[in-house]
Symmetry: C2
Subunit: 471 residues, 2 copies
């Protein structure tokens, strides 16, 4: 091991290979503080060439590498194990925006570039970089791609995969694949790009990417509406899809329980819609024509929704500041849950046509199996993506309740997900958190295919072992 | 072999295993009549279970399978070799539309479903199935996915990959992977779906798919405009992207040479724009609001383009019939080329920001190296996708010229593609046509990754061997 450390130091310089506990410590625990590990060293390369050299060395020494970006993932995918034998390879020094191509509408960046920096750079050039999520001030493009990040703009612009045109990747053999191309069409063989995207650093290390840009909308209108039933929220979504089509850029559902929790912990985040409706939906339209055009379109659709009794109330944001408040209300649900104490989270997708049945059945099963639990249900409804979270009964000790019932509650929710042909991870990935359940969820055939791919691309199992799949 | 045939007959019934030359013959030659092969038999399964049984049997007997749909591909990917030892597995009997889900906005189909049948079924339910290409009356969904087909709607809706939500695939081991899910988000491990899409039947046989649907636009406006330079056509594209955003659903470029060839062979297809402009662009806007809205938007943008001297003339289609004529004009270029005689085709993409330099340089090189050649250049400019085709000089024997210079002309064009970081196959795939050049184009690292995936998923090399990659 000393030999390896010596060689790594030769490559990076002593400053960029962290060996002391106090230096390594910030890299060992994930953002939610759910996973903590140990590391032989933290390597901080400055270029893909250095990454390639590190991988070659580690491969020779059979030492595993844990690639890491902003370390904001929810599933422990970038946290090392407890052996103390793994090298963390953090890409934060590779944070350059290499090029903005206004004609091709694309941006080329290094993997360690902070998401928000990319958004801001694009906006400076009159473009929208659509990927947007809670952690955007800390998360990095490489991690966004490695986990195929989602967020609030998926409805219109897709997830990280859909926004990516090309990649540079360091393979498990320490070779550099230069796939940094800004092409909208390229049918030259197997889709390596999408194989690396979402593989959470287990097949290769993403070091750079070309991403799509879009012209900045000139006007956005945000509204909150009240629906009396889940089926109404889905009718409303279909109505907006039909009338506003791709002008619809946000469609977020919040239950009355979610917003009550918000108001309890953040009184200034009270729902501006009166009467505590069962479902409140945040809708955003974005337009490239004019403020009048999108405002009128929004009012026309809302009027149709009122007349058809799909919605019972609506508040249109008066200005940008109020629009931001509406979005903050949505984003604060997660924070209110954290304030309330430990809860059990499920990041799931269900086909929209099965969503109502899923929620009705699952709520019923949950309440009868675990009397008193509080169901905090909200999410990116436009994508069929629910954050179906369970908080312990008010009269129970939260930690003890979660320890006793965590597995049973997860099993109940995931069995319902299978029944309705959904996904047990909509946007957070697998990491180590959901590793054990993946084989059963994917089925033997798909899981065997994944294992075959992992063995083929990383036969020594040195890239982020025991994340996503275990060989 | 007789034993295999006997067992296949037991599975399918004698009617659906074709053994006689006259029965096999329609399956042996591709649509462009560029590739012809032989086959031991043509198998016509009715279900994915039968496909799985066939693959298992062929695997035991080490007999290769060539999966086939409508057999309309341009690269010989679905044509068997000359050994007479391969089995063609044609999926045309698996042509059922399994489900249209109006709420989830998705359609589930068997792989042998004709593209046009899917479009029509979707339209009956008020939806657009956006995939659209010349061969849509004959090509099948399975083949569209296996080749990641493009076409005229890629600009707005993406290619076959972008439209696919889930797949059913029979693996090289004869197992059925059931990935038939209609989810917009699913981050559960490696992206097997996109690995099979575009792999041209070399990694697995696609037997069913779930595809996205979109609400039908209520109004479409089509216009032809004249541009004096290529840079103007690109400015025009950027202008439409900025002002019309996702209402822009078509942007097709045609050079004066292309349209002159059209008029020569189809006089009724003359360009309605007078004066033979260097570049004619077909633009289509689609809207979900109203006819007045989109018409006014189109006029506003065209006015801005006139004022900025980006365009010199424009003809807006008066009605649907004239709009169709404009599209036919674009589609007839390929037919006019066929009438004119053999020509050398290049289906390439170039980043939009390099397109003008690519064309100027390549035209110059071409004309100086091969005096008198005619450059027929047109394509899906909105995607950076050119059909850069070369017809022999008028005074030369076409066949002799092509035989003598085919390799040199391809080499010249593809060297230019590399220079400008483009792709040698934008939408037609690799098949057998471009197999030899792929390693050089992709680079060693990417090509080795492809080989590793092929060996991992099809270790016996029985699925469409020597297409895309050769192991």
């Amino acid at each position: 091991m000393q030999n390896l450390i010596h060689q790594l130091t030769n490559i990076l310089g002593a400053k960029f290979i962290l060996l002391e506990d106090q230096d390594k410590s910030p890299y060992l625990t994930d953002w939610r503080k759910r996973f903590t590990g140990k590391a032989l060293a933290v390597a901080l390369p400055k270029s893909s060439k250095e990454v390639a050299q590190i991988v070659k060395l580690c491969s020779e020494h059979q030492v595993a590498i844990v690639p890491q970006g902003g370390h904001t993932g929810f599933c422990g995918g970038a946290t090392p194990d407890n052996s103390g034998n793994q090298i963390i390879l953090n890409l934060k020094r590779m944070n350059q925006i290499i090029e903005i191509d206004s004609v091709n509408q694309s941006i080329t960046l290094e993997a360690g570039c902070i998401l928000q920096a990319a958004q801001e750079k694009a906006a400076d050039h009159g473009f929208l970089f659509p990927l947007s999520l809670g952690a955007e001030g800390s998360c990095m493009i490489g991690g966004n791609l490695a986990t195929n990040a989602g967020g609030t703009n998926v409805l219109r612009y897709g997830n990280a995969r859909d926004l990516c045109l090309g990649l540079e990747v360091v393979t498990a053999q320490g070779e550099i694949w230069n796939g940094v191309k800004g092409l909208r069409k390229d049918n030259t063989g197997y889709d390596l790009r999408d194989l690396f995207i979402g593989s959470e650093g287990t097949l290769g290390i993403i070091t750079a990417a070309v991403m799509k840009l879009y012209p900045l909308p000139i006007s956005q209108w945000t509204t909150l509406v009240a629906c009396e039933s889940l089926s109404s929220t889905i009718h409303l979504l279909n109505l907006f899809q039909k009338r506003a089509n791709s002008l619809l850029t946000g469609f977020e559902m919040m239950t009355s329980e979610s917003l009550a929790l918000n108001e309890k912990h953040f009184p200034h985040m009270a729902n501006p819609i009166q009467g505590n409706p069962p479902f409140t939906v945040l809708i955003e339209l974005s337009d490239h024509e004019s403020e009048e055009h999108v405002r009128q379109l929004l009012e026309t659709i809302l009027e149709e929704a009122f007349t058809s009794h799909i919605i019972s109330d609506a508040v249109i944001a008066k200005n940008l500041s109020q629009a931001n408040t509406f979005w903050h209300m949505r984003e604060h649900i997660t924070l209110a849950q954290a304030e309330e104490g430990a809860n059990l989270k499920h990041d799931i997708t269900i086909p929209l046509s099965s969503l109502e049945a899923f929620i009705q059945e699952t709520d019923l099963l949950m309440r009868s199996s675990f009397p008193g639990v509080r169901i905090i249900n909200f999410g990116h409804l436009g994508d069929g993506n629910l954050h179906y979270n369970i908080a312990p009964p008010l009269d129970r000790d939260p930690r003890a309740f979660n320890e006793n019932y965590e597995k049973q509650i997860h099993d109940l929710v995931y069995a319902q997900v299978e029944r309705h042909k959904g996904s047990i991870s909509a946007e957070h990935g697998i990491g180590q958190l959901k590793l054990a359940g993946l084989r059963a969820h994917k089925g033997e055939v798909a899981h065997d295919l994944m294992l075959a791919v992992k063995k083929a691309l990383d036969p020594k199992n040195i890239l982020n072992p025991h994340k996503v799949v275990s060989i």
